[in-house]
């Protein structure tokens, strides 16, 4: 088979991505074609964006199930990738629905936003599937670049401009360092293909003279840590989290909602694919523990996890701006999810998948509530929530459900997600470094308690404080429906989580090297 034929054959596994690409182009076109003053402009563009997501989803549903590498080993197609693609499409569809009724996207500008949003989704698809260092880097950039543009989307808003600029500078440095790390790996091994990399690294790691290995070890360790930088920046883990609060505060809230779940999830997918499958010795999540350069990576990830959740939560304590508060909260949630990676096991990877799924719903819901509040009051501080339970009980109750779920209280789905992360970590209790894993779990439990404090501050404002004035809060009907649906879903999957387990279990098959 010639390379061309091979690529054409691969395209049948690539249809959702192709649909998204076509959709992006179509949206740019429609943005120009539909008159700026048209009454139906927002509706037409929204329907087009949703249709694009819908077609991609339909094609995804009919995609062949077997695992294979496509385009000469550039991109993978396997159940693991399919799981994340569903998650990304879900996040995209919900974001489109939220943005359609938001005040932050005036109708002349919404078409470009949709197109950029779908570009980010396409980039996330590639992040979850890339099998090559170059592809991986391009995918990350494909997520980042449109994000920079959307962060500064509000015309003439100083905060938006500041957010965008900070995002660009910070992201530029992070991706530069990551690229540096990738070049090191390429220099050490001589290939960019993950499969070749894995095989070569394993043979390099085979016992040789102790002195000769040391240089290789250090080089490889530094390179991997540099690559981790890029991923850590995407998932907003400490110490690469600093961009997060500023960008969240300045960027349009519907996009922030998306940013807090989508790229984060894509970062986790990428991390699992690279470190737990290809570069891990033995080609499975467990191999990560023995893997690369003799560095105990689970311990490194565990330290990152502990520091991330602790700093995220401590910083959230004093926030009065809801978006900044949720930014720090999303940092701490990245820390919780890192626990699953630190566990370095099938169960750990599964727990991350479950957590991201649940987190998608609860965090989007929380941001949606913030949008609804901001639409009524014009600002987004905790004080704006005062007496919300009397002004609009549905909004207050659903917001409380999201916050309790973020805390991880039963019977909400957030509890289930957190529960499996703890199980994954504590299943190492009797093994290597058991005391260490227990410490991590204890730190996470303490962090949950800390997070309860600032989440409850909002709930207290909503249910106990008196309303400041006669302000009518009437969220849009579509928002009310979404709020209700999200909290019902959190309640439902909080008591009936078997479908989550079964789905993630079935999606645990991923392409491994060899």
């Amino acid at each position: 088979m010639t390379i061309t034929q091979f690529n054409i054959a691969s395209a049948s596994w690539f249809r959702p991505e192709l649909a998204l690409t076509a959709g992006i182009l179509l949206l740019f076109l429609l943005d120009v074609l539909v008159r700026k003053q048209s009454r139906y402009r927002v509706a037409v563009l929204t329907v087009a964006a949703l249709a694009c997501v819908g077609v991609a989803a339909a094609l995804l549903a009919f995609q062949p199930v077997e695992s294979r590498a496509m385009f000469n080993g550039m991109i993978a197609s396997d159940p693991f990738a399919t799981f994340w693609k569903w998650l990304f499409l879900g996040a995209a569809a919900l974001t489109v629905l939220i943005a359609a009724r938001s005040d932050e996207f005036p109708s002349p500008r919404i078409g470009v936003f949709y197109a950029l949003l779908l570009s980010v989704v396409l980039g996330m698809f590639l992040m979850a599937t890339s099998l090559d260092l170059l592809m991986l880097y391009l995918a990350i950039e494909m997520v980042s670049l449109p994000s920079y543009a959307i962060a500064g989307y509000k015309p003439g808003d100083r905060r938006a401009a500041e957010a965008s600029l900070k995002y660009v500078i910070y992201g530029g440095v992070a991706s530069g360092i990551m690229l540096f790390g990738l070049s090191y790996i390429y220099g050490l091994v001589g290939s960019t293909n993950l499969t070749a990399l894995g095989v070569r690294l394993e043979s390099l790691a085979a016992p040789a003279s102790a002195g000769g290995q040391l240089g290789l070890r250090v080089a490889l360790m530094v390179a991997v840590i540099f690559v981790l930088c890029g991923i850590g920046y995407k998932i907003a883990a400490v110490p690469w989290h600093m961009w997060c609060p500023d960008v969240y505060e300045g960027a349009p809230t519907p996009f922030v909602a998306f940013l807090s779940v989508g790229p984060k999830a894509a970062g986790f997918a990428l991390a699992v694919r690279v470190f737990y499958s290809f570069l891990a010795s033995g080609g499975g999540p467990e191999g990560f523990a023995r893997g690369l350069a003799d560095v105990p990576w689970p311990a490194v990830v565990g330290v990152l996890s502990a520091v991330t959740m602790t700093l995220g939560n401590l910083s959230a304590l004093h926030q009065n701006n809801l978006k900044r508060l949720l930014a720090y909260s999303s940092i701490s949630h990245a820390g919780y999810a890192l626990m699953g990676l630190a566990a370095a096991s099938q169960l750990g990877v599964q727990s991350v998948m479950i957590y991201m799924l649940v987190y998608l719903v609860m965090n989007l819901g929380a941001f949606l509530a913030v949008i609804a509040i901001a639409q009524a009051t014009g600002s987004e501080t905790i004080a704006d929530c005062n007496g919300l339970s009397r002004r609009h009980p549905l909004l207050a109750v659903t917001f409380a459900v999201f916050l309790f779920s973020l805390t991880g209280l039963p019977p909400l789905a957030g509890f289930v997600g957190k529960w499996y992360l703890f199980v994954a970590v504590l299943s190492h209790y009797a093994g290597d470094g058991g005391a260490w894993y227990v410490t991590l779990a204890v730190i996470a439990a303490l962090n949950t308690a800390i997070s309860l404090y600032y989440y409850v501050r909002i709930i207290r404002a909503m249910f106990i404080e008196a309303p400041a004035g006669e302000l009518v809060v009437r969220p849009r009907v579509s928002y009310q429906i979404m709020l209700g649906t999200f909290s019902a879903a959190l309640l439902l999957f909080g008591v009936w989580w078997n479908p989550l387990i079964e789905w993630t279990q079935a999606s645990l098959t991923f392409l491994t090297r060899g």
Partner: protein
């Protein structure tokens, strides 16, 4: 996934959810229609499932439906599984039919209440939870229903929460039930530990198999005994048995339809249902059965005695309920499960009828419940009186009324049981005798109630008398239906001895139906049967006679004379033997004192001052520090980036895992070296085990050690490397061959 059985509890639960959320917006007629339809629909579905599938329900172990697997964790799999067999089917029919009637009755009774929707929401919640309880095929599902009825009972007792007494009655019921629930949970855990499953069929199968549950557990008694005792503690809480009966009389603070439905006909019988459901477990432990029977019999007698001197209409009925529940437990405790369930069945009708009559009377008496102020209502409330008479004769055990048959089944069972071994053979007859005395007492206090309320002149004041009127149709109609039930329900369980008179052989319909679920009915000799019937009829008539002698047509001379002669006894009985006061002195007060001390020491000082204070300070300082770093300029962000990166390299550069053991063997002398870059750092601690016996032979901070073996063989060398900085430990092993 779709399950018809699920609809039975689901419809009332949905009704409850809807009424709670949106009930306030609807008019009364909409609210009552939704509530009644929800229960009525599940009644129709129950009837359909029970009678259309009759052979399957009764003979083939019932219809069971797995709705979904709730969760699976390790070896535990908890299913939402429902089963309708003859036992749960019968309970379903009782709950839904009487539930529908009482919902209907509530339209009239609650007509003037402000919180109409809330009332019906709670009632629907109760029905849904109760149906989940009886249909649950796994203990967790049953327990959810169990807690659900407890919750709705609490909510309804304190329905008029603005009065302090009502709220505290609700709390008392809740707390007392929690004590029982604790027992339920322990019993459940014991069964799980012994059988590895929470599914009721699996547990019952294990009980029939015997071995797992017969193993001794504690004090020489088997698992089955302890599980039975703890489950019975739960049952005693829910069904108001000694020593946990105290909440039920206070529960009369709730609206009367609640008392009729929850605290007489259905919820309080859940304990009896539980014991009957777990019958196979109890049959393994005769001693546990004996405890059930004795507690039941004593409760029956004790509560009947208290009933002698109560002056509140509903309180008399409450003690009567406690007493009748004691009868049921005495029944199931003598392994006469069918008999106990039979009495549950008839009692549901006549006791619900009595309570609804009480409601009707109190409705007529402007809310007054004091029977010393009543009298002569017979002519003014014709329908209520007729219904009360039927239910009264039924509970007294007068022949052809339903209570006669079911009480007779219990008495015959007590004298004829063979469930106990030799050592406990005395339990059956003793229980029988106690029950006979209790039956006499029952006839007396119920007659006292009847005569004081309905006969003679009226003792109420003028204004109240002026208002006396028969209740509306919506209240009278359920009364009449329940009276019909009280009259005819007994014919389902006519004993074999009587059936022979009519040329029929074998057991009654009910006993045949219940056989697959609770085992074959007790075979009682016909002679015993006849003697018991004769004695109990005579006792019923004697009790009624005494009642007439003391109270016929109002307080008569003998009643006054008795009270004058033994004032302290009468006062003691009137004060319910002062059990509440005893509990207060030995339990409640010490507990409250303990709570106060704990509050002061733990909460005020330990938690508020020390724990919260210190951590709040740490969190505060940490938070401020983080905010300082996050000041807003990108340079500082990137500095943190770089510092973090360096820190991460430092973390990652911790000692590597040792890979290889080098061994040099010279004769019997072996030198073992671990190839390890980090050995020079001196951070690691090595332990060498040369002969594979698990005991370290050499220890130190250097990565090599020597050893002299005893003789030629293959040995396993194990090196344990401990890193004190990270609390990690690794073991590396290698085989060593020592040649001769």
């Amino acid at each position: 996934m779709f399950s018809r059985l699920l609809l039975i509890p689901l419809l009332p639960l949905l009704g409850a959810a809807y009424l709670m959320l949106a009930g306030q917006r609807h008019t009364r007629s909409v609210v009552q229609t939704i509530a009644i339809l929800a229960v009525f629909a599940s009644c129709v579905i129950s009837l359909d499932a029970f009678f259309v599938g009759l052979p399957a329900v009764v003979h083939e172990g019932g219809i069971s439906e797995l709705v979904y697997t709730w969760f699976a964790a390790g070896s535990v799999e908890v299913d939402l599984a429902l089963r309708m067999d003859s036992l749960s089917g019968l309970m379903c029919l009782v709950v839904t039919s009487i539930g529908t009637l009482i919902h209907f009755y509530s339209i009239g009774y609650m007509a003037h209440d402000e919180d109409y929707a809330r009332f019906f929401a709670y009632m629907n919640l109760f029905c849904g939870a109760m149906l989940l309880l009886v249909l649950g095929d796994t203990l967790p599902v049953l327990f959810i229903g169990w807690e659900g009825v407890g919750l709705s009972s609490y909510l309804l007792i304190g329905f008029w929460y603005k009065e302090h007494a009502n709220a505290s009655a609700g709390r008392k019921a809740f707390i007392t039930n929690r004590i029982g629930d604790f027992g339920f949970l322990i019993g459940m855990f014991l069964l799980f530990r012994a059988t590895g499953s929470l599914d009721i069929p699996v547990i019952l199968g294990a009980a029939q198999d015997g071995s797992a549950l017969s193993a001794p557990l504690w004090l020489g008694q088997s698992v089955a005994f302890w599980a039975g005792v703890f489950l019975f503690l739960g049952a005693a809480g829910k069904s108001a048995q000694i020593p946990l009966y105290v909440w039920l009389p206070d529960a009369m603070a709730g609206p009367t339809p609640v008392s009729a439905l929850i605290h007489a006909a259905t919820m309080v019988t859940a304990g009896v249902y539980l014991v009957a459901r777990m019958s196979a477990v109890y049959l393994l432990a005769p001693a546990a059965l004996a405890i059930v029977a004795l507690v039941g019999a004593l409760t029956a007698l004790f509560a009947a005695l208290i009933g002698f001197a109560q002056n509140d209409f509903k309180r008399v009925l409450a003690y009567s309920t406690v007493s009748q529940l004691g009868f049921m437990f005495a029944g199931v405790g003598t392994a006469n499960f069918a008999g106990g369930i039979f009495h549950l069945f008839t009692h549901a009708f006549f006791k619900a009828g009595l309570f609804l009559c009480a409601g009707s009377v109190m409705h007529a008496m402007s809310g007054l419940g004091d029977i010393t102020k009543m009298g002569g209502l017979g002519k003014r409330l014709p329908w209520t009186t007729r219904v009360f008479q039927i239910c009264w004769l039924s509970i007294c055990g007068v022949p052809i009324f339903s209570g006669f048959f079911s009480k007779d089944a219990l008495l015959g069972g007590a004298f004829g049981t063979e469930a106990y071994g030799h050592g406990l053979a005395w339990v059956g007859p003793l229980v029988g005798v106690i029950l006979l005395v209790a039956a006499l007492g029952t006839a007396f206090y119920m007659s006292r109630l009847y005569f004081l309320v309905f006969s003679g002149p009226c003792r109420a004041d003028e204004q109240t008398q002026h208002h006396i009127h028969e209740s509306p149709v919506s209240m009278v109609f359920p009364l009449v239906v329940l009276a019909a039930g009280a009259l005819f329900a007994g014919f389902a369980g006519v004993p074999p001895a009587l059936r022979e008179l009519f040329g029929k052989h074998g057991e009654s319909t009910l006993a045949v139906w219940l056989e697959p679920a609770v085992g074959a009915p007790l075979a009682v000799a016909h002679r015993t049967e006849w003697i018991v019937m004769g004695i109990s009829t005579a006792l019923a008539l004697v009790g009624i006679g005494f009642g007439y002698f003391f109270y016929g047509g109002g307080y008569r001379a003998p009643a006054h004379a008795f009270a004058r002669k033994l004032p302290r006894l009468v006062a003691l009985v009137r004060d319910k033997f002062r059990v509440d006061e005893i509990y207060d002195a030995i339990l409640v007060r010490p507990l409250q004192a303990l709570c106060r001390i704990t509050f002061l020491v733990v909460d005020r000082v330990l938690v508020d001052k020390i724990l919260v204070g210190i951590w709040a300070f740490v969190a505060d300082v940490g938070g401020r520090a983080c905010r300082f770093i996050q000041a807003g300029d990108v340079q500082r962000y990137l500095a943190v980036f770089a510092i973090g990166l360096a820190a991460l390299v430092w973390v990652a550069a911790r000692p590597a895992a040792p890979k290889e053991i080098q061994v040099v063997v010279t004769g019997r002398h072996a030198k073992v070296t671990l190839v390890d870059d980090e050995a020079r750092s001196g951070n690691l601690q090595y332990r060498f085990d040369f002969d594979g016996d698990g005991v370290p032979d050499r220890e130190g901070k250097t990565a090599s050690a020597s050893w002299i073996y005893g003789g030629p063989a293959r040995y396993t060398v194990a090196i344990t490397i401990e890193d004190a900085r990270w609390h990690t430990r690794r073991v590396v092993e290698r085989d060593v061959e020592v040649r001769p």
